[in-house]
């Protein structure tokens, strides 16, 4: 029984269900935050799967998600900025807990992988993920105030 896959199941199942509930209900501000947190839940899950299946090649998936996830959130932050500016769309507590959980997963994987090129790649993905999510939530919290929705 592979511990990594169990952790990935918990991340995908729990994080996925919470993000789905967040994306489908509540005010638009809360929905875009849930979409942002989807990335910070699924990227570590993909990393855990790559380790669980014993396939370092799957790490490229997490790399691409760490890059394009925040870009997707920026798309919504910018094009929904008129709806978001009305409500306060900042959930810094959630963002930082997700960032800490992501960092914990990356550190655990680095320990498991051992020093070398693979560890540096994991750290690059971790930095991109956490940086991307923090900036995306910064954009949601009012990054596009001067933009008239476009």
């Amino acid at each position: 029984m592979n511990g990594w896959i169990l952790a990935a199941t918990v991340a995908l199942g729990g994080g996925g269900a919470a993000a789905l509930w967040g994306v489908t209900t509540g005010p638009p501000a809360r929905r875009v935050i849930a979409q942002n947190l989807t990335t910070s839940a699924f990227c570590p899950a993909l990393l855990l799967l790559a380790q669980g299946y014993g396939r370092p090649a799957y790490v490229d998936l997490a790399l691409l998600l760490a890059l394009l996830g925040p870009v997707g959130t920026l798309v919504f932050a910018r094009l929904l900025s008129d709806d978001l500016s009305a409500q306060d769309a900042s959930a810094w507590g959630l963002t930082w807990t997700a960032a800490v959980l992501g960092a914990a997963a990356v550190v655990a994987l680095c320990v498991a992988v051992g020093p070398g090129r693979a560890m540096v790649k994991l750290l690059v993905i971790g930095v991109l993920l956490i940086g991307g999510n923090v900036i995306a939530s910064r954009a949601l919290a009012g990054g596009f105030r001067g933009v008239r929705g476009g």
Binding site: L63, R117, V120, K121, V124
Partner: protein, 64 residues
């Protein structure tokens, strides 16, 4: 000697391009698994492309 071709501006520009090129070449080396000459050549050219785009992007954003 317009502002753009003043030696100092040219120096700054090449400095920025080189810095971006070095960083992106390092990123390429991290991404690939096996390193051989062809990988280095392709990596160097992709990093150069990225450096040019980085500089163009910065100038496009700061250009008013």
């Amino acid at each position: 000697m317009t502002r753009r071709t003043a030696p100092r501006a040219v120096l700054l520009a090449t400095g920025e391009l080189l810095a971006w090129w070095a960083a992106l070449a390092l990123l390429w080396l991290v991404l690939i698994t096996s390193v051989d000459t062809l990988e280095r050549i392709v990596g160097a050219s992709c990093a150069a492309l990225g450096a040019i785009l980085a500089r163009l992007g910065r100038r496009a954003v700061t250009w008013r």
